[in-house]
């Protein structure tokens, strides 16, 4: 869809978001709380028919952030949903893998390396850490020293 149509449709979901950040013409960030992330992704994937690209996990100082990147191929615009997970002791997020099967492996990787638990994930096994890696040690967390 064209860029203006995308901007208009995004205003429909503004109620669920914390804000709409537009760093450049073709880069839109949608920060939201972790409980609303699934609904926003569902809207972007099903209503707006955007294509899922990849996800990113970030260990920010006071929260965990999980970014899901979607792209609008026609106008080259990338829309990112930034889910803020406030609970640092037991971070949890609802998995978008039942909706988008392509997100299965990247969520497994985030679970392995950052320790974020994805609810309703069909197959949350170890993906990239070695078989003899101890449980409960998440290497990419800032407070872990390996």
């Amino acid at each position: 869809m064209k860029q203006e149509e995308l901007d208009n449709r995004l205003s429909e979901i503004e109620g669920e978001l914390l804000s709409v950040e537009r760093t450049e013409d073709n880069r839109i960030f949608l920060p939201c709380e972790s409980e609303k992330a699934y609904a926003v992704c569902k809207f972007l994937f099903e209503e707006l028919q955007l294509r899922f690209v990849i996800s990113t996990g970030v260990d920010a100082e006071h929260c965990f952030e999980v970014l899901h990147h979607f792209t609008n191929d026609e106008s080259g615009c990338i829309v990112t949903v930034k889910a803020m997970i406030r609970d640092r002791e037991a971070p949890e997020l609802e998995s978008i893998a039942p909706l988008i099967p392509g997100a299965e492996w990247i969520e497994r990787e985030m679970h392995d390396i950052l320790g974020i638990n994805f609810k309703n994930h069909p197959n949350l096994r170890r993906l990239i850490l070695s078989d003899d890696w101890p449980e409960g040690v998440y290497p990419l967390r800032k407070d872990v020293k390996v």
Partner: protein, 143 residues
């Protein structure tokens, strides 16, 4: 020199092992074995099984996952054999120094199995095929 050493120098069969590499060195090794560089004139041939091999071309900094398998492959290689560490990561972990998933550079992993292993180092990131040929020839003449 006796016939065993002569024949080993004239006919060296290689087996390629990837111990957690980024694939750059693997691509260069595959390039090396194409007809353009013609390593068959030195008697070098790529074999599909470590039991047939005289030289292991190991790429990659040894990751924890790969170190177990690398030790097993080394044990299955019929001695006498030479281990070639191809690339900066195999020689000394390269840019992955201090990473959480590294079990030591390749020579440390091999020496756990066999402290008297013959190991040759070919640095580069990735080493050019010409550098690999020169490394192999130098190692063979030093045997």
């Amino acid at each position: 020199m006796n016939w065993k050493l002569w024949s080993l120098k004239k006919s060296i069969w290689v087996f390629h092992v990837n111990a957690g590499a980024c694939n750059n060195c693997d691509i260069e090794i595959v390039n090396l074995l194409t007809p353009r560089f013609d390593v068959e004139r030195f008697g070098i041939k790529l074999v599909g099984s470590p039991r047939h091999a005289d030289a292991l071309l190991v790429t990659g900094a040894g990751t924890r996952q790969a170190s177990v398998r690398l030790r097993e492959v080394y044990r299955q290689t019929a001695k006498p054999c030479v281990v070639f560490c191809m690339g900066a990561c195999a020689c000394g972990t390269g840019i992955f120094e201090g990473g959480y998933h590294i079990a030591g550079p390749v020579d440390k992993i091999i020496k756990e199995v066999d402290p008297n292993a013959i190991i040759a180092y070919v640095p580069g990131c990735p080493p050019k095929p010409e550098a690999m040929i020169s490394g192999v020839v130098k190692a063979l003449s030093a045997l």
